[in-house]
């Protein structure tokens, strides 16, 4: 089917609704936030309109740099863990019977219905000394006495991976179902073991999907602010936690806005870099 470019102004009409929604619910709030980030904080009340760089200047410190670095590191770790777990899982799932696939997908979707708070407290119970999974290991004789696994980086990472995994599977699933199964069979006839076939054919053939999924989980994980607080120590707090803290508990809207804008810029930069690297790799 050949698509014609829109000719008249009325041809653009179908775009009006999404454009309107984007403007009202994204452009306006985001513009407001950018504006607020240059305002001056009023210690007595809220903030007053101004044009100062104080908020950004305050952000450029070692402390916030470390927090930003940790946030990005955590999000990257979550993204990589999710894809590393979800890719083989979804691949095997896509090769099973239809019934099995539906059951698994329903189970994964039900995880999505859990709120971040419930996930956080459920894992904090599971990682606790009194009622946690270490008790099971003690029962099995693997450990001598139960220990608390949280607060720790591992606990934060586990819970965040748990939360993001269903999304990862759901994004990878259509691509894997569409992948021609004869590709792996061809690889096997050409001398590749099933494992080798997976890494030399399935993964590279899905390169673009994998990159897109990594970016999606990365951004999803950047916004997490409850799990690091429930399961981590203060050094495991992400920038999102600090933004919430500044905005809600310190009533410092301008500074929170500045941090948020900075986070968005850094994120966009990283995503652009990934896409650019992907393009370049493809051309080579």
């Amino acid at each position: 089917m050949r698509r014609e470019a829109p000719q008249k102004l009325t041809d653009y009409a179908p775009l009006a609704f999404p454009a309107g929604m984007l403007i009202v619910f994204f452009v306006v709030p985001f513009a407001t936030m950018i504006a607020v980030s240059f305002f001056r904080r009023d210690p007595a009340g809220f903030y007053s309109p101004d044009f100062v760089f104080d908020n950004y200047a305050r952000f450029l410190s070692l402390f916030f740099g470390k927090v930003l670095g940790f946030s990005l590191f955590l999000a990257v770790a979550v993204a990589i863990c999710c894809v590393v777990i979800a890719l083989p899982f979804t691949y095997l799932l896509s090769r099973t019977k239809r019934r099995t696939q539906v059951l698994w997908l329903v189970a994964l979707l039900s995880v999505l219905s859990l709120s971040e708070v419930i996930i956080g407290f459920a894992w904090s119970t599971l990682f606790s000394r009194t009622a946690g999974i270490t008790n099971l290991l003690v029962m099995l004789g693997i450990m001598s006495e139960p220990i608390a696994l949280n607060p720790s980086f591992g606990a934060v990472l586990t819970a965040m991976v748990y939360q993001a995994l269903p999304y990862t599977v759901l994004v990878l699933y259509p691509a894997l179902v569409r992948l021609d199964p004869t590709l792996t069979e061809a690889a096997r006839t050409l001398g590749a073991s099933p494992l080798k076939a997976f890494f030399t054919v399935v993964v590279p053939a899905l390169r673009n999907t994998v990159v897109a999924t990594l970016i999606m989980v990365f951004i999803f994980a950047l916004g997490s602010y409850l799990l690091p607080q429930i399961l981590g120590r203060p050094q495991h707090w992400t920038l999102s936690v600090l933004i919430t803290d500044q905005a809600i508990y310190q009533s410092n809207m301008p500074f929170a806005a500045a941090m948020a804008v900075f986070l968005v810029l850094v994120t966009l930069g990283l995503v652009a870099l990934t896409v650019y690297a992907g393009r370049k790799g493809e051309a080579a």
Partner: protein, 344 residues
Amino acid sequence: MSGLTLQNVTKQFGTFTAVRNVALTVPHGTFVCLLGPSGCGKTTLMRMVAGLDLPTEGEIRLDDKDITNVPTHKRDLGMVFQSLALFPHLTVGENIAYSLRIRGAGKDEQKKRVDELLSMIHLSGYADRPVAKLSGGQRQRVAIARALAISPKLFLLDEPLSALDAKLREAMQVELRQLQQRLGITTIVVTHDQREAMTMADTVVVMNGGEIRQAAPPVDIYRRPADTFVADFIGMTNLLDFKADGTGATVLGASIPGLVVPNGLASGIVSVRPEDVHLTVPGNAPITGTVIFIRDLGGTIETFVEAAGKQIVAVSVPNARPDVAVGQSVGIALDPADCVVLKS
């Protein structure tokens, strides 16, 4: 004996038997076509040879070694899939070099072999192109080259030419056969196209309902079909009921003396190829019929005649065009030597 041997190979999917008790010997260096209608088990049989499916029962031996349970990647074979299954993320050269890379061959060795294969398939200089940029025929050739990169013991092709248009398909059939003869490689092709099978194969294996109906050289399959299914499936034929009489058999109410009927067979079916049906002046032949339709294809003329309630087709070349018209009465002469007697 070197070559491929299948012994009592059976494959069941649940309660469905896809391949039933197949025994087949493919001597080293021969070209075998598995031919049959869709669902006859020919692809399943090939997948078992490739190790992509495991037989429920039976044994597969290659060069005197039992490979029934050897995993696919250790069988040293080359296979061309119906969908070709070229790796979309690799270039033409990388696709062809895949099996060498997997086996840890050096870069120089890979390049040398790729160049060799590309010149063999007349695509020299295409190594760095992405496979998506190739035409159907070129992709076909790349898939063949990729399967042949390691000089496999066994070359398997599953409906390899079905995606090509008719002209290109005929050309590729000839090319494939010449390539196979030059390399002397044991080759098995699955196809539902009998012209393809007749063009390429040393041995045609006709399958139906999961069983082998006949395995023989193409000419034998055509001239001496083993049963009515083979006779009907390969080319056009007239299947006529017969009853044995003292001197021969009665076909279409007329006696054909000299038709040799095996002992104990009172009745059955004779298969007569359309080109063996001779039309003459009525009264000059034992059988008389009426012309009901003439299909003049230029190269051949098919004359449809109704005799004793049966429709018979006669094929003749333009030089021997029968002087008949629709509605006219004609005599039908059958040479006993051209009639193949089959059980009904």
